[in-house]
C-alpha cells in the first residue's frame, strides 16, 4: 500500500485551497495519507488539516525557522522523513514548484511536475509544451515518487467527520543561514489573484487604449473576477505585463473566463483552454476565439459590456 506525504501550503494563518486539491490527487493514488505542515505557531493550521477528508495523520514541523516558506530550509527537514513514504506530493504552485525539486534532488530521485491525472500509483499524465501535448510518464521502482500536482485538474476534498492525529516530526532543524526572507508584498487591490482566481475577465487590443481598458475592470468588479490581458494588449501598453494570459504569460484554469476584444491567437488560447466555461465577445464574427468559446457574442464591446454589467446588477438585485 502507498504511504503518501502531502506537503501543505498555507499563508501562516490558514491552509490554502491547493492543499485540499493535492489531497484529492493523493486519494486517486490510494493509500495512507500524511499531511506535512511546516510553519511557525501552526497548531490551528494543523487542526484544519486534520479535518480534511483522507488525511490519516498530520506531521508538524513547528519552528521559528519555518516562519517563511524557504525551500532551502524546508527541503532538508522533509528529506529527513521522506524515506518512510512511497510518494511525496506538493501543489504545483510557486510554493510547491520551488520546494519539491530541491527535495527530490536531496533524495536523489526524479520529480514529476504537474500531475493532471493518475493512471496508477506510479503512472501519471502531465502536460508538456504548455499543454499542447499530454505525456504519460512511468516512475518505475524508485521511491519516494516526488511530484507536484496541477491544482486546476483536481477538485478539493471535503471536510471529514473525523479528526486525524497530529504529531510533531522528530527532525533536527537544519542550520541554513544563507537564505533570508525579506518581505512579501501582495497586490494592493482586493481583486482576486489572476493565477488562482475562479473567474477572470481579460481584454485584448480591441479595447484601443489604457483608459478604455478600464471597461475590463468594471466587468471584473461586477463578477468578482481577476483581470487578465492578451499579449497584444500588453504589448500595446493597455495593461501591465503581470496580467498577460497565454503561453508566455500565465496559464490559468478558472471556472469562468471572459475574453473581451481578444481575437484568440494560439499563444493566448494555450493559456486558457482548461477554463471550465469560456465566454467571448468580439466584433469580428470570424475571430478564432469563437472556435473554443462556450458562449460567443458578436457585438461592439463598448455597447455590449455596459449592458452586460447592468444585466448582472439587475440579477444581483433580483436575488437579494
Amino acid at each position: 500500500m502507498s504511504r503518501i506525504l502531502v506537503i501543505a501550503e498555507h499563508d501562516g494563518r490558514q491552509l490554502n485551497a491547493a492543499t485540499a486539491k493535492c489531497l484529492r490527487c493523493a486519494q486517486a493514488i490510494g493509500g495512507e495519507i500524511t499531511l506535512a505542515v511546516l510553519g511557525n505557531g501552526l497548531s490551528a493550521i494543523a487542526e484544519d488539516g486534520a479535518r480534511l477528508n483522507g488525511v490519516t495523520q498530520v506531521l508538524t514541523f513547528d519552528s521559528p525557522a519555518n516562519a517563511h516558506p524557504l525551500a532551502a530550509v524546508f527541503a532538508p527537514q522533509l528529506a529527513a522523513v521522506a524515506a518512510e513514504f512511497s510518494h511525496v506530493l506538493a501543489p504545483s504552485t510557486t510554493f510547491g514548484k520551488d520546494l519539491l525539486p530541491r527535495l527530490a534532488a536531496l533524495l536523489d530521485v526524479p520529480a514529476i511536475s504537474d500531475i493532471m491525472a493518475v493512471e496508477s500509483a506510479s503512472r501519471f499524465q502531465r502536460p508538456i509544451y504548455a499543454g499542447n501535448a499530454i505525456l504519460t510518464v512511468e516512475a518505475g521502482e524508485l521511491r519516494p515518487i516526488c511530484a507536484t500536482v496541477r491544482i486546476a485538474s483536481f477538485d478539493a476534498v471535503e471536510k471529514a467527520g473525523t479528526v486525524a492525529a497530529i504529531q510533531p516530526a522528530a527532525v533536527a532543524m537544519p542550520a541554513v543561514g544563507h537564505t533570508r526572507f525579506v518581505a512579501v508584498s501582495s497586490p494592493a487591490s482586493d481583486r482576486p489573484d489572476l493565477q488562482t482566481a475562479r473567474r477572470v475577465v481579460s481584454g485584448g487590443r480591441a479595447l484601443g487604449s489604457a483608459e478604455k481598458f478600464q471597461l475590463i475592470y468594471q466587468l471584473a468588479d461586477a463578477l468578482g473576477a481577476a483581470v487578465g490581458a492578451s499579449r497584444a494588449a500588453v504589448d500595446a501598453g493597455y495593461a501591465p505585463n503581470d496580467l498577460q494570459v497565454g503561453q508566455t504569460g500565465k496559464i490559468i484554469a478558472p471556472e469562468l473566463y471572459v475574453a473581451l476584444g481578444i481575437s484568440g491567437a494560439i499563444q493566448h488560447l494555450t493559456g486558457i483552454k482548461d477554463a471550465r466555461t469560456i465566454v467571448a465577445i468580439n466584433k469580428d464574427p470570424d475571430a478564432p476565439i469563437f472556435e473554443i468559446a462556450d458562449f460567443g457574442l458578436v457585438a461592439d464591446l463598448f455597447e455590449a459590456v455596459p449592458t452586460l454589467i447592468a444585466a448582472l446588477a439587475d440579477r444581483a438585485r433580483a436575488r437579494t
Binding site: A72, K97, P101, P110, H178, T277, L297
Partner: protein, 249 residues
C-alpha cells in the same frame, strides 16, 4: 574572476505549434525551428547586464546536448556571452541529470551566480535550477523578476502566487528567472560574425565523471482534448441567462 554561468537549452521555437507524432512516441521536432529557451534568454540578458554594470567579469553559457546545440550557443555568444561550454549528450536529459552536470560545471568554473530560465518551454518541468541548488547546497531564488548584487549577496524579487517576495541570498547562489525580469536584446549582424571567433568548448560526460541514468519512462504522448465550439448568443441578456443556467452568475 567574477563569473556568471548561464544554462541555455535548445528547444522548439515558441512560435511553433507543436504536433504529436501519429504513433504517440513523441512530438514532431524534425525540420522544426529550434531556438534558445526564451526563459534562458532572459537569464542570459540579465547576466550580460550585470557584467555591463561591472558586477561580473565573465559570462559563460553552458548547455547539454548534441552538436546541433552549438547553433544556440553561437547565438548566446552573439548576444554577448564571453565563452560557451557544451556538454555532449545525445539522449534527452532528465532535470536531475542536468543538475548533476551543472554541478560539475559549477565546481569547475566557480561562478558567483548560476542563472537559468525558470523552466524550459518543451518539457515544462521547472526543476533543474532547484535541483542544482539542492545538490550544490547553495541558496536558490526562483522565478526572479529583479536581481540586485550587493557585495557578496544578492537581493532577488520573486514572482510568487501571493505577489512579490524578496529574498536575500549569500553568493554563490542559483537564480532562475521569470518573464518580467527583462527584455532580451536583439542580436546584430556584426555580433554574429564576432561570435564565430569566441571560444566554444565541448566536454564529454565521461570527462565530468557523469553517467546518465534515465529514471522516468515516457510511455505515451497524446494531443490534448480539444474544446468544441459552443453556442452564439444574440445579446448580453441572453448571455447572462446562459451563465445563470450554469450557476456562474
Amino acid at each position: 574572476m567574477k563569473r556568471i554561468l548561464v544554462a541555455v537549452k535548445r528547444v522548439v521555437d515558441y512560435n511553433i505549434r507543436i504536433r504529436v507524432k501519429p504513433d504517440n512516441t513523441g512530438v514532431i521536432t524534425e525540420g522544426v525551428k529550434q531556438s534558445i529557451n526564451p526563459f534562458d534568454e532572459i537569464a542570459l540578458e540579465e547576466a550580460l547586464r550585470l557584467r555591463e554594470k561591472g558586477l561580473a567579469e565573465e559570462v559563460v553559457v553552458v548547455s547539454i546536448g548534441p552538436a546541433d546545440v552549438q547553433s544556440q550557443l553561437r547565438t548566446a555568444l552573439a548576444m554577448g556571452a564571453d565563452r560557451a561550454v557544451l556538454v555532449n549528450a545525445s539522449s534527452a536529459i532528465e532535470p536531475l541529470d542536468a543538475a548533476k552536470i551543472f554541478l560539475k560545471l559549477a565546481e569547475r568554473e566557480q561562478p558567483f551566480l548560476f542563472m537559468l530560465g525558470k523552466q524550459a518551454i518543451d518539457d515544462d518541468n521547472n526543476q533543474t535550477g532547484q535541483m542544482l541548488a539542492g545538490l550544490w547546497n547553495r541558496p536558490q531564488a526562483t522565478f526572479a523578476s529583479k536581481v540586485e548584487i550587493i557585495g557578496d549577496m544578492a537581493r532577488v524579487t520573486r514572482e510568487v502566487d501571493a505577489g512579490l517576495e524578496s529574498l536575500e541570498v549569500d553568493l554563490p547562489a542559483v537564480v532562475t528567472v521569470d518573464l518580467r525580469l527583462n527584455e532580451p536584446r536583439y542580436v546584430k549582424l556584426p555580433d554574429i560574425i564576432k561570435a564565430k571567433k569566441k571560444p566554444l568548448e565541448t566536454l564529454e560526460l565521461a570527462a565530468l565523471g557523469i553517467t546518465l541514468r534515465p529514471r522516468l519512462q515516457a510511455l505515451h504522448y497524446a494531443p490534448p482534448s480539444v474544446r468544441t465550439r459552443g453556442v452564439m448568443v444574440k445579446d448580453a441578456g441572453e448571455l447572462v441567462a446562459a451563465l445563470a443556467a450554469r450557476g456562474l452568475v
